[in-house]
């Protein structure tokens, strides 16, 4: 089974309910979209993430009613350095979509989606704890895995895997 090349053309991807819905609402919110290995990733403007999530959740045709996961990837030393990843699932339509928000290393801050999905609470705390990305509007943004007085964010790429720092 050879890998099909990824598709990043909006016109070809418009049939996907999530992308068409976001484009119909605000086409400037979408930076890029990519369909690779049967999975759609949509890159969203930082300022639009919370509205986009609420929009997808309340979509009558294909409600993405389940937030499966929030995580982050550190592309150090590249810029924009952080990529916060949201995996959404539509339980009625059995469809998944991945949203991404790219963040600079100078101000890794974005809106929390906890008001849209309470499920994001622990996930966002974990991203804050391990990557140092801040979520504004989160009700309780404290470290969750590491001790309160820990210095640094262990999953960043410039944090060593072993040894003393």
């Amino acid at each position: 089974m050879a890998l099909a090349p990824p598709i990043s053309d909006f016109e070809q991807l418009k049939t996907h309910p999530a992308l068409s819905r976001i484009l119909a609402w605000n086409s400037s919110a979408v930076k890029e979209a990519k369909f690779d290995r049967d999975e759609l990733s949509i890159s969203i403007q930082r300022s639009a993430i919370r509205e986009t999530c609420a929009l997808l959740r309340d979509d009558p045709g294909c409600p993405f009613n389940y937030l499966a996961d929030v995580t982050c990837v550190d592309w150090y030393p590249g810029e924009p350095r952080f990529e916060v990843i949201y995996h959404l699932l539509s339980i009625p339509n059995k469809e998944r979509v991945r949203l991404k928000v790219k963040l600079d290393s100078t101000s890794p801050v974005l809106d929390s989606v906890v008001p849209v999905w309470p499920a994001a609470n622990f996930f966002e705390r974990e991203v804050f704890d391990l990557f140092g990305v801040r979520f504004s509007g989160h009700p309780y943004l404290r470290r969750v895995q590491m001790p309160e007085d820990w210095e640094g964010h262990p999953l960043r790429k410039d944090y060593p895997v072993e040894g003393y720092r």
Binding site: S41, D69, N121, L155
Partner: protein
Amino acid sequence: MAHLNPTPVIEPGQDRTMILNMGPQHPSTHGVLRLLLEIDGENVVRIMPDIGYLHTGIEKTCEAKFYQQVVPLTDRIDYLCPLTNNLCYCLAVEKLLGLEIPAKAQWIRVLLNELTRINSHLVWLGTHAMDIGALTVFLYCFREREDILRLFEMISGQRMMTSYFRIGGLALEPPLGFWEKVKSFVDRFPAKVDEYEDLLTANPIWLRRTKGVAMITAADALALGASGPTLRGSGLDFDLRRDMPYSSYEKFRFKVPIAQEGDVFARYIVRVQELRESVAIIQQALGGMPEGRITANAPKVVLPDRERMKTQMEALIYHFKIVSEGFSVPAGEVYQAVESPRGEMGYYVVSDGTAKPYRVHMRSACLANLQLLPAMCEGGLIADVVAAIGSIDIVLGEIDR
């Protein structure tokens, strides 16, 4: 909407409430979960889970290993269903590579996953019942669990940390006599489930401790990210095995048990019925096991067997290359989810084209399910907190990673 910022029933500052620390060393918190309880007498006003006592940084370790070296790490995340984690990780990397897995390997994977589910549910049932005070069930469950662990030892050489699934297939052919042992186990197991049910399902004490306790509605459970039996116990009919099938689950016929009440008893009854459905899946897998290879035809990814390695130069070279420098995976990212005994277990793997994963993230079903605890327990009794923890079936290894 769900209780995110719960308003205390009693205003803080008044000295009617006290803060009680439960865990991390507490027998009923299933590991090292710590709970901060604000209590008014026996009533729980607020509850805050505190996790991270078992944080081992597995996600960071994965970034420093070759793809195939991550498989044994995945065992250690959720030590009650290692094979489910093996499967989820292997499926994710196979999706990145675009590998096709032979039918026989897929069927064996399904069969072993269902055995793992039985194993995990038995530990859950035993400890959950013990928390509530029914000690006998624990001994009964561990008796059957021992049989399953022997099967795992037979097929993989390990009782718990099996690492039996490999990227591209399976580690070894199942040994002679394995299928007969599995068959004899699944033939006698349904009678054992009847035994557990005799002890609990109609037991008045069990019913008083579980019915109407730690209720949660389907809408709240969904908003808080619940999955698996915890979600199905609230009446939401969704199972990844049936609805988004992987590893040829679409070829099996099974029911997805659900219950409407959303209390501890509903989650109990869902899991007990899942035990029976798992037996049905195993019997179908035994009956229709396809013939053929157990590894994909991908010499650059799958280690050659020892016989070929000792007689063929080509195989020896591939073996040396894979072991010493790994295999490179085309750049990209995938999210693969499977239905673990606890809910949606997901692996998000990012590749930058090298032989080591750039990022491996485990979506933990338990972490999301744990968020339900405040919504379930606030306003109830302390004793019911113990029942609620048991009913969401958490494994701290998976929560903390």
